[in-house]
């Protein structure tokens, strides 16, 4: 009786193993169904989703103009103190004083990509970019100024 049980155990064990091994063998002989991507080698063809939250950027147009008014809505919305808006007063040709941004300091090492600053921005001045390769040798390089040097606010944006 014991021997019979033992033998059935061995036979069912081997059958269940072979069933599993058949699946493994199937994929071994069908390499086209393998979906693994070799990441650093496939950089040229790597497709990131257009919504992927990699870092915050400020788009500039051809005239080096952006739409940031310096309202600090993003600074208030940020949970980690990642964004700091430094403002200055610009004098227009008519002699009027106007508030404008001097620098939008963005500290990437503090950012958690929660997207709250982009939702808070009333003039769509900042957006998320899909770049995710952020490693640098020095931590200070992660503190970025988002507005380009010499850039201005686009006309008509208040």
């Amino acid at each position: 009786m014991f021997l019979k049980e033992y033998i059935t155990d061995v036979v069912t064990g081997v059958i269940s193993l072979l069933k599993g091994m058949r699946k493994t063998g199937y994929y071994f002989t069908h390499p086209k169904e393998i979906i693994t991507e070799q990441y650093p080698d496939n950089r040229a063809t790597l497709l990131m989703s257009d919504r992927f939250k990699g870092e915050v950027v400020m788009p500039h147009d051809a005239n080096n103009e952006h739409t940031c008014t310096g309202c600090t809505a993003c600074e208030l919305a940020c949970p980690n103190g990642t964004i700091k808006v430094v403002t200055k007063f610009e004098t227009s040709p008519e002699g009027k004083k106007k508030k404008a941004i001097d620098a939008l300091v963005y500290r990437l090492e503090l950012c958690t990509m929660c997207n709250l600053c982009i939702v808070a921005c009333p003039s769509d001045a900042i957006k998320m970019a899909p770049n995710f390769e952020h490693s640098v040798f020095d931590r200070t390089k992660l503190t970025k100024v988002l507005n380009q040097p010499g850039s201005k606010i686009r006309k008509g944006i208040e």
């Binding site: 069933k19 699946k23 939250k53 709250l116």
Partner: protein
């Protein structure tokens, strides 16, 4: 003065009985994170298990008290990172309930679909990792193949693969990606054709069955008294699905079964999760073609202020009941916040179900509890 040769704990008395104390973790491949178990052994038999926590404590509850009601939701993604979407949903539901914010139907439907996708992704990861703990390496890749499709859907719609932060009080952060329905349907067909592979590879495998059947038995009474929820309690026959008992969003409109098993052993917990994936697919199938048109976010004030009082909501994550308890003083930030995480109660039962079994069985009983350590430690 601290002396390096000082005896902190005298274990010589234990040694007299042939007992051995083994530290499992905090760096151990099978503890999935930084769980530290102090296991007292007699030979190979477990006499006591003492979990040591605190290696990944980030004081999230205290952190939330300094953040506004819009900001604190994103932190909860970092607790149970495998069901981050459902954690966010719990927090958003609390704020909506407290402030009586009307949520559009479209947002409700999308929230439920994404919650169920998160649940499948979480169970897939658990299936692969648990089979790997028991020595089967291949199922890990098979499970991750299907999970990758879900993370791709999440990346398209929410912009992130794991810590989505897609839910805001009142609705969603932005509308669905145009390809969403097409991709989800492609995932459902892929999942249905491949789910039989798990049965061939894992469920019907005689080694897997003999390692999990009758191991780590938890009775229904103990499951209740330890506060276990989710698949752990349902495998012992305790009906505790929050989606059924206290339906939120559109769970009362969809048809699905609460998966119950009665054996209470590791294999029953495995079966509950595998069957739950099929139920999640059933929910998604009912909703995916019926997403109503309309706004994706309701009208909210710029600054959210909960009225004075105490609030509690619960949702069903992939691991069990996740509760949010907020005491508000009427300000813009919570006065006190407390999360009831399912992992903590499920871990506390580990000593009870493992005492008297072999140390090799500890892998099976711990693996099927589906522990996520940042969820326990917060």
């Amino acid at each position: 003065m601290y002396n390096q040769t000082e005896i902190i704990k005298d274990t010589s008395e234990l040694g007299a009985d042939g007992e051995l104390v083994i530290n499992m973790g905090p760096q151990h491949p099978a503890t999935h994170g930084v769980l530290h178990l102090v296991v007292t052994l007699n030979g190979e038999t477990i006499k006591k298990i003492e979990p040591h926590l605190g290696y990944i404590h980030r004081s999230i509850e205290k952190m939330c008290e300094s953040l506004t009601y819009r900001q604190f939701i994103y932190v909860t993604s970092r607790m149970d990172y495998l069901s981050s979407h459902i954690n966010n949903l719990g927090c958003a539901l609390l704020i909506e309930k407290g402030m009586q914010i009307e949520v559009p139907d479209r947002a409700k439907y999308i929230r439920v679909i994404l919650s169920e996708l998160t649940r499948i992704a979480s169970h897939e990861l658990w299936l692969g990792a648990m089979a790997m703990d028991l020595g089967a390496f291949t199922p890990f890749f098979y499970a991750f193949r299907e999970r990758e499709m879900i993370t791709d859907i999440m990346e398209d719609t929410c912009g992130a693969r794991l810590t989505m932060n897609y839910i805001v009080p009142g609705g969603l952060m932005y509308d669905l990606h145009p390809d969403f329905q097409k991709k989800v349907k492609a995932f459902i067909t892929q999942f249905k054709s491949k789910v039989t592979e798990y049965e061939d590879l894992v469920t019907n495998n005689i080694i897997f069955q003999s390692r999990t059947k009758g191991v780590g038995i938890l009775s229904a009474e103990d499951a209740i008294s330890y506060g276990c929820t989710g698949p752990v309690a349902r495998a012992s026959g305790v009906s505790c699905d929050i989606r059924k008992i206290y339906p939120y969003e559109v769970y009362d409109k969809v048809e699905f079964d609460e998966v119950l098993e009665t054996a209470g052993d590791s294999f029953a917990r495995y079966m509950v999760r595998v069957k739950e994936m099929n139920q999640s697919i059933r929910i998604i199938e009912q909703l995916i073609d019926n997403i109503p048109e309309g706004d994706f976010v309701g009208k909210t004030k710029n600054v959210l202020k909960l009225p004075k009082g105490e609030f509690y909501t619960r949702v069903e994550t992939a691991r069990g009941e996740f509760g949010v308890y907020v005491v508000s003083e009427g300000g813009t930030t919570p006065h006190r916040i407390k999360f009831r995480s399912p992992g903590f109660s499920n871990l506390s039962v580990l000593n009870h179900i493992s005492v008297g079994s072999m140390i090799g069985d500890l892998m099976a009983s711990m693996g099927t509890l589906d522990l996520v350590i940042p969820d326990i430690d917060r």
